[in-house]
């Protein structure tokens, strides 16, 4: 989807159209840019950039708060459209998806025609622009959709992958970030073509297995990491976490504890959405001076109940917080997932069972009225805006460890 968060905000406030818009928060708040309109990008603003930096680059931009519930809803509409075109849809994030179109020629026609039909259907039904990349591999499809932006369609004809990739910067290859880019530059590799010309053995000697994968990627193959997986194959998360950075460092115990409760609720909600039960819960605590500690607790039996998570996390906090020290960031992570509660409960009237029922009801309310519809009283003071980039749970596809602002491109 093109500038997804911004486009969604424009649906709700058409006056934003054509202007420099930054989604993510107020200009002087701590936090990062979730998305920037194409007009704002002209000034160098991009996602994941600190809001204050964005303001320096583009002081006249309109800064708006993000609305995760809106994005999730639109993402689900997008999925609804995609699903009609192929049964194999994988949401890679809240605004990116892969479709396996194999065997749909008789239904949708040749690749370009199918893409145009999809492009129009998307605009008609969601009022949002998207860009479509078509290719024989997932990797090239992703890169070509990036090249097609905004609002375009690009087909890389089979056999032409290497030629298509060659003139692009190495950074365009999914998985190549700042660090690898720097490393490659130091080896004199700047374009994907430079990479493709190199010997696999050389890349492996310099970069290990990742080098081998890169060699494949440079030729347009889906090599390494999750690019190997089938489209539509659901990948289960290994951990679920949420973090919160305070707008201003705080040592207010009430605020800290309720923030932890709120984070536990968010983690618990995720666990239930994925049908996971965690054996281990971990507290992350970062002080003003960036000194960071993590402390974990293992449960007797795995759980997905908010109150059980939060009572342990708060206990960990009380035991480990340097009383009075100002806190910059709190995080809660659940891991060591069991298939479920193997052990059957003995006590039907058990608190645990009752909480499970209550939370199931709360989840239904949140599905209908949004995430903040219901909350534990202990977490009310800890309410803050969530930042959501990943695929909404419930849709097939990739589920990242939740809550961290994922890499995000429009």
């Amino acid at each position: 989807m093109d500038a997804f968060f911004v486009s969604v905000e424009e649906l709700f406030d058409p006056s934003l159209k054509g202007k420099a818009v930054v989604v993510g928060g107020r200009p002087h708040e701590r936090g990062v840019v979730s998305a920037a309109s194409y007009e704002a990008r002209k000034f160098g603003v991009h996602s994941a950039m600190p809001l204050r930096t964005a303001y320096k680059l583009c002081p006249h931009a309109i800064f708006v708060d993000g609305h995760p519930a809106r994005y999730r809803e639109c993402s689900e509409q997008v999925f609804g459209v995609l699903r009609r075109f192929s049964p194999l849809v994988e949401m890679a994030s809240i605004d990116e998806a892969y479709l396996d179109m194999t065997g749909t020629e008789r239904l949708h026609g040749p690749p370009l025609r199918a893409a145009h039909t999809l492009h129009e259907a998307m605009k008609a039904e969601t009022r949002l622009n998207c860009s479509i990349g078509i290719a024989a591999s997932r990797l090239v499809a992703k890169v070509s959709s990036d090249q097609a932006k905004p609002n375009g369609i690009l087909w890389v004809i089979p056999g032409q992958e290497a030629a298509f990739l060659a003139p692009l910067d190495v950074r365009k290859i999914p998985g190549v970030g700042k660090v690898t880019e720097k490393h490659l530059h130091s080896l004199g590799i700047r374009k994907v073509g430079d990479l493709a010309r190199l010997d696999e053995a050389f890349l492996e000697s310099r970069l290990g297995k990742w080098g081998l994968a890169l060699a494949g990627k440079a030729r347009g193959l889906d090599a390494g990491g999750w690019f190997d997986a089938e489209i539509g194959a659901d990948t289960e998360p290994k951990s679920v976490s949420h973090e919160h950075t305070f707008g201003e460092d705080t040592n207010d115990l009430d605020r800290l504890e309720s923030t932890l409760t709120r984070l536990c609720e968010m983690v618990g909600r995720r666990l239930r959405e994925h049908g996971l039960h965690a054996r281990t819960v971990q507290l992350k605590l970062r002080y003003s001076d960036f000194a960071t500690i993590t402390r974990a607790h293992s449960f007797e039996s795995p759980t997905q109940v908010d109150t059980e998570l939060s009572s342990q996390v708060r206990e960990l906090f009380r035991r480990n917080w340097k009383s009075g020290a100002r806190v910059r960031l709190l995080g809660v992570q659940a891991s060591s997932f069991g298939a479920g509660e193997d052990q059957l409960p003995l006590l039907a009237e058990d608190r645990h069972e009752r909480w499970k029922q209550a939370l199931a009801a709360a989840d239904r309310l949140r599905d209908r009225y949004g995430e903040s519809a219901v909350s534990l009283a202990a977490g009310l003071k800890g309410n803050f805006r969530e930042r959501v980039h990943e695929n909404p749970a419930g849709l097939p596809g990739k589920h990242k460890a939740a809550g961290l602002p994922g890499k995000h491109k429009e």
């Binding site: 054996r279 449960f299 007797e300 039996s301 109150t307 059980e308 009572s311 342990q312 206990e315 060591s336 069991g338 479920g340 193997d342 052990q343 059957l344 409960p345 003995l346 006590l347 009237e349 058990d350 608190r351 645990h352």
Partner: protein, 369 residues
Amino acid sequence: MEFTVSKADLVRELSLSQGVVEKKTTIPILSKVLLEAGEDRVTLTATDLELGIRCACPAKVKKAGAGTIPARKLLDYVRLLPDAELNIKFLENHWASLTCGRSRTRIAGMSRESYPELPQMPEPIAEIPVQVLSSMIARTSFAISMEESRFTLNGALLLLGPEKITMVATDGHRLAFVEKAVEAGSRPFRALVPKKAMAEIVKLADESGPEGKAVLAGDDNHLFFQIGDRLLITRKLTGNFPDYERVLPKDHVHSARLNRDEVRSAIERVAQFADERSRAIRVQFTSGEVKIYSSSVETGESEESVPGEYQGPELEIGFNAQYLLDFLRAISQSDVSFELKDQKSAGELRPAGEGLTDQYRYVVMPMRI
């Protein structure tokens, strides 16, 4: 304050108080033992605010008074002294001076003013032989939940009546119930005893000898166990203990009778190959034998067969091996009866054979297999 005690007496009483002294030194005074000298004895008090203990030993008191000394440090030091008389004198600055033979030591103490006041023991409710009490604790305390968030399950239910005494513990997955008929029992009384207090009661019972009695009393918030000269005070657990009577099965469809040692060692061996976290084993009941097996992707698989009487259809049920072993290790009888209904209903274990004097029932929920 100044007094003289025998080193052996002091070590014994100090050891009994160690379990109660707070380990984490969040409140410095709670890591101290309070010593009070008066008449011809010195009284030792330790507490972590949840649990308190008061014991005493004979002393030659030169000057009555009170003071506090770090409990751990005092015990560690006194233990190393030769068996002899030990003189303890508190100085102006709350330090304690210890003299024993040729050894002299001064330990940093604190004023008694900041030491918390323990509640007074009210009228006794009942007198229970310590053996009865500690054997009931041994058969139930392992079923207490370790999960701190489930605070009503962090102890055992103690029920006293005119004709019987009952103790029940559960962690939500299994439940241990033991009931003993007693003559001339007490008026009805009901309380939740925290797990930590139960461990201390067992220690005091061991120390008091087989004929000892525990005098029980309670106020709104506390329980008092007077065992000989020693008094244990614990905060009651609050909250509603689950309705255990609903959990105890009324009827069982099928029953197996096994030799306890055979089935216990079979499970111990098989459990080596159970999943480390879930501890799941499968128990298969067939005519004339019970098969136990386990398998784990990482470690391997294991199988045992135990001969036994069983009538009923073939049944295979998953259990947490630890739960079964806890019970099998707690009983002294030669046989065990295993009663069951199906894969999803609670199974019940009971001791069988000679020497059954009280009712002991252990209910375990299966695991999904």
